[in-house]
Every structure is written in structure tokens, then in C-alpha cells.
């Protein structure tokens, strides 16, 4: 009896040790992942003078002045508005156009289907550098260079390959019966799409929407190259230039970074599942 109990308690101790090691590693990774965020948010609340003495600790008082300064003097209010103006049309366009094209690729038979799909896949593999110069002159010749379209159109074009890929995979998975039932009821192809296929595509559409929103919100090279007027710049470019201008005033820079990140993080925490499924959907289907 006692030998059996002893063996059981050894096994239990081993399991406990394994559990402790596991949680220890997880906590280390946790701290590794989160400390840059926490540090930046804390620093945004500090006085510039506190920086050298009090790098780790909590701010002496909650100094909201950095935020108001960043918003007004740093023009983050304008940049925030611009990010929204650029992101919303891009996401709407990519969602709608990808759904239309994805439906065609996934459910309709037509000449050149594989070739055209491959054409879209090309866009996933080419580096942006392969088109950035030509795009600049093309946008200039189309006279849209210093307008929001100079960012919206290229971003949408670059987002379409993945969008089409995801929507096509989704529509392929829908049963043909849905389509046939609607056709029998007298719908034409577009009616089938609009009334039957699209409503059931909500999960795939939300993946595309989340992914494209993040891409557009965080994009920095396209607006940097094609939106060279300060009134048009989105947050990413604004932050980069802000860094160049206020290198000494770290708390204000941190406040700027916080303005850029905090709303996104809050939305992320609320809509976690959609974010994660949206950002990994393309890869899982591959």
C-alpha cells in the first residue's frame, strides 16, 4: 500500500513541477509580449524631466498634457481623421469587389478562369518596390497624386488578391443547391449573388474586412510616397515625421504612439475573435 501511495505522490509532484515550468514559460512570454505596450503608455503620462530618473516606474502624476499637445501641436487629430478617410473606402471597395470576383471564381465557369486567378495571385508575391516608382508617375499622370485617391486606389488594388483568394475559397465551399434554388425561382445571376450568396458570406467578408482594415490603417509606405501634403497624411506617416521633429520629447512621442495604438488595441480586445480569424484566414485556406 505504502509503495503505491509513494509512487502516486511522485507522479503528482512531477505533474506539478511540469505545470509550474509551463506556466513560468508562459508568464515570461506574456511579459515579453506586453511590456513594450505598458512602458509606452506609462511614459506617455510622464513629464519629460522624469524620464532619466524614473524609467521603469509609474508616473508621478497622470500628465494628460502630453496627449493634448500631441493632438493639437502634433496634428494627430488631423492624421486620425485622414486614416479614417483612407481606410473606410478601401475596405468597402475591397470587400465588395472581392466578393463579386470571388463568387465568379468560385461558382461560375468561364473561359480563362484559371489564368485570371493566377493573375491575381501574382499580386501576393511581388514586392511593393516592383511597382512603387511606376505607380507614382501613373498617379501623377492621372492627376490624383495629391488626393486621398492616391492612397485608396493602390491600397485597394494591393488588397484585392488576398480578398479574392479568401472569398473564392468561401464561395467554393457553398453548396450549388443554394444557387440552383434561386435560379429556379427566377433570379438572374446577379440576383443569386446579391440575395443568396452574399448574405451567407458574412464570416468570410468579416475576415476580409478585418484584414484590410488593419492593412490600410497600418500602411505607411503608400501614403508616404503618394500623399505628400501634410493635411492628407494618416497616423502612421504622421507618427514617423513626429518622431523626426520631437526626438527629445519622448513622453510626447509616447503620447503620439499611444493615440495611434490605444484605440486599435481596445477594438482588438473587444473583437478579438474576428481579428484573429481575419488575420489568419488567408493562411489557413492555403
Amino acid at each position: 500500500m505504502s509503495v503505491k501511495l509513494k509512487r502516486k505522490s511522485i507522479v503528482r509532484k512531477k505533474k506539478l513541477a511540469a505545470s509550474l515550468i509551463k506556466y513560468f514559460v508562459l508568464v515570461v512570454l506574456f511579459v515579453f509580449s506586453i511590456f513594450p505596450f505598458v512602458w509606452i503608455w506609462l511614459t506617455a503620462l510622464k513629464e519629460p524631466s522624469e524620464l532619466l530618473d524614473n524609467i521603469f516606474g509609474f508616473p508621478a502624476s497622470f500628465n494628460w498634457r502630453n496627449f493634448t499637445q500631441a493632438w493639437v501641436k502634433g496634428r494627430f487629430g488631423t492624421y486620425f481623421k485622414n486614416s479614417i478617410i483612407i481606410t473606410v473606402p478601401t475596405v468597402a471597395g475591397v470587400c465588395l469587389f472581392s466578393a463579386l470576383a470571388g463568387y465568379a471564381f468560385g461558382k461560375l465557369k468561364f473561359i480563362g478562369r484559371n489564368f485570371l486567378f493566377f493573375l491575381f495571385l501574382l499580386g501576393l508575391m511581388i514586392p511593393f518596390q516592383a511597382i512603387m516608382v511606376s505607380l507614382y508617375y501613373e498617379l501623377r499622370d492621372l492627376h490624383i497624386l495629391m488626393t486621398y485617391w492616391a492612397a485608396i486606389l493602390p491600397m485597394a488594388a494591393l488588397g484585392l488578391p488576398l480578398g479574392v483568394f479568401i472569398m473564392r475559397a468561401f464561395f467554393k465551399g457553398l453548396p450549388y443547391e443554394l444557387m440552383d434554388a434561386a435560379l429556379i425561382d427566377g433570379c438572374n445571376q446577379f440576383g443569386v449573388f446579391w440575395r443568396v450568396m452574399l448574405p451567407s458570406a458574412a464570416p468570410a467578408l468579416s475576415s476580409v474586412a478585418v484584414f484590410q482594415s488593419l492593412q490600410s490603417w497600418n500602411d505607411f509606405l503608400v501614403p508616404l510616397l503618394y500623399l505628400q501634403k501634410d493635411e492628407l497624411r494618416p497616423l502612421t506617416v504622421g507618427l514617423m515625421l513626429f518622431k523626426g521633429r520631437y526626438t527629445i520629447n519622448y513622453p510626447m512621442l509616447a503620447a503620439g504612439a499611444t493615440i495611434v495604438t490605444l484605440p486599435l488595441i481596445i477594438i482588438y480586445i473587444i473583437f478579438q475573435r474576428q481579428f484573429i480569424s481575419g488575420l489568419t484566414a488567408g493562411a489557413l485556406k492555403g
Partner: protein, 298 residues
């Protein structure tokens, strides 16, 4: 006779309807991606200096020059170091954390949320935050080392040619491992538990079960994660641009940054176009080879 004509017009009409669905996407994509690619290729055959200068046709001279350009070789080397470093780091950490979370019930959601969080940040913000962490004077990394008595390890992480590339790689690993972890977790959760139980009954220990049951079962996810890491590694631009601009002394110069420099700093967009086409060709070939290998393995 009439039947075959009907069939033909039916197929044609179906195709036309399909093209209508494709039209918006195709229009935007062709105008703002395909046309620039072709134009870029045409550009690569000239020695254009940008602006209002004339474009003189010089054939494949840019390509020949690029193949002999030591900076191209150096950039490619840096890209390869980057790819190896980031892939090993990301896959390693992602697999580790996925395995840990797979066997954890308490707090799985919290850990997943936090591990994934870095992936939603703009690379500009990530670069700024980590620039600051690595700062020799104000940076938290050196402060940590000093406070635990390892001040010998303090240095200018991004300014030191020995540590610059490595430091940016660590930043990228921080940013990317959560995303890959989610994919690995999905793969792990779809493993048939009976296989593992059978292995346990056959006497396999934990490591053997991992190597001979778990790993093969997540082969698909591993392939996808690695391929994406490789392609992204060749295309990398934003994070290095924000953190080191390719310096110090070209220690972090990668292909995309070299192309950017040639196009905008050295007024050689024709040459830049050629190098960019070379980069695109490399990415395409590696993707095709990788996918072929994977298909053969299955």
C-alpha cells in the same frame, strides 16, 4: 447544328456574365498593380534618372550591372540572414507557445490575446517603440541589464554593427510569433487524439510522441507558416526602414531598401526597377519550388 450553336452562345454568355462580376476587381487591379509591373519592367530597360530626364533604352545593361553589384549581393545576404533568423525565432516561439497553450485550460484566452497583440501594431509604431527600447541612454533594455549587474551587456544595439541586424530580427520575432502561434494552435487542435493515445499505449514518451505523431500531423501548418515567413523575409522593408534605414554601414541593408535608395536617393529608378524585378523573380521561383516540394511530400 442549332444545338451546337446554342451551346456555344450559352457558354459565351455565361463567360460574359462572369466577366461582369470580375470587372470592378479586375479594373482596379490591372490599373494599379499590373500596369505598374509592366511599366516597371519597361523602366528597367532604360537608364532613366527620374523627373524630366529622357529615357534612353539600354537593354539588359541594368540587369548585368545588378548581377555584378556587390551591394546587391550584400543585400541578398542580409535578406537570407534575416529569413533564417526570423523563421527560426518565430516558428520556434510559436510552436513552443502553441504546444503550451494546447495543454492549458486556465488562462488560455488571456495568453492568446496578449501573444497576438503585437501583430496588430503598425510596423512604424513597433519600430519606434523598439528603437526606444534599444536606445543606449534612455532605453529600457540597457537599464534592465544595469539594474541586475550585467552592465557589460549594455551597448548601442542598433548602432553597433555587430548587433544591429540581430536586434531588428528580435523585434520582428516579437511582432510575429503570436500570429504564427494561432495557426499552430489551430493545427494542433485538429489532431486526432486517438493517434496520440495509441502512441502512449505503445510506450512512446513525450518527446517521441511530439516527434513522430504531433509534428507530422501539423505538417500543413508548418509549411504555410514557413512559406509565408520566407516570402515576407524577402519583401521586408517597413520595420528595417523605420529602425535603422539599412544602417549602420549597410549592416541591415536588404534588397527592398536598396531598391528604395536607388530609386529615390541615387536618382536611378531604371536600375532600381531592374533590381526589383530580380527580387520579384527570386520570390516567385522560391515560392514555386517550395510549393512543388510540399506537393511531392504529400
Amino acid at each position: 447544328m442549332t444545338t451546337s450553336v446554342n451551346v456555344l452562345s450559352g457558354k459565351l454568355r455565361k463567360s460574359l456574365v462572369a466577366y461582369l462580376f470580375l470587372l470592378p476587381a479586375l479594373l482596379v487591379y490591372c490599373t494599379f498593380v499590373l500596369y505598374p509591373i509592366i511599366d516597371n519592367f519597361a523602366l528597367s530597360l532604360t537608364n532613366w534618372q527620374g523627373g524630366t530626364d529622357p529615357k534612353t533604352f539600354i537593354g539588359l545593361e541594368n540587369y548585368l550591372h545588378a548581377l555584378r553589384d556587390p551591394m546587391v549581393l550584400l543585400s541578398l545576404q542580409n535578406n537570407l540572414v534575416w529569413i533564417v533568423g526570423v523563421t527560426i525565432g518565430v516558428v520556434g516561439l510559436a510552436l513552443l507557445s502553441a504546444m503550451l497553450l494546447w495543454t492549458t485550460d486556465k488562462g488560455r484566452l488571456l495568453f492568446r490575446t496578449v501573444f497576438f497583440m503585437p501583430a496588430i501594431l503598425s510596423l512604424v509604431v513597433t519600430g519606434i517603440i523598439w528603437n526606444w527600447i534599444y536606445n543606449p541612454v534612455f532605453g529600457i533594455l540597457n537599464k534592465i541589464f544595469e539594474s541586475i549587474g550585467l552592465s557589460g551587456l549594455s551597448r548601442g544595439w542598433l548602432g553597433d554593427s555587430e548587433t544591429a541586424l540581430f536586434s531588428v530580427i528580435v523585434t520582428k520575432i516579437w511582432q510575429g510569433f503570436g500570429w504564427s502561434m494561432v495557426l499552430f494552435l489551430a493545427g494542433l487542435m485538429s489532431i486526432d487524439m486517438d493517434l496520440l493515445d495509441a502512441a502512449k499505449i505503445d510506450g512512446a514518451n513525450a518527446w517521441q510522441r511530439f516527434r513522430f505523431v504531433t509534428l507530422p500531423q501539423i505538417r500543413h501548418v508548418t509549411t504555410v507558416v514557413t512559406l509565408i515567413a520566407i516570402i515576407a523575409g524577402f519583401k521586408v522593408f517597413d520595420i528595417i526602414f523605420v529602425m535603422t534605414q539599412g544602417g549602420p554601414g549597410n549592416k541591415t541593408l536588404v534588397m527592398s531598401i536598396y531598391i528604395y535608395r536607388q530609386a529615390f536617393k541615387y536618382d536611378a529608378p531604371g536600375y532600381a526597377a531592374a533590381v526589383s524585378i530580380i527580387l520579384a523573380a527570386i520570390i516567385l521561383s522560391i515560392s514555386v519550388i517550395y510549393i512543388r516540394l510540399r506537393e511531392r511530400g504529400e
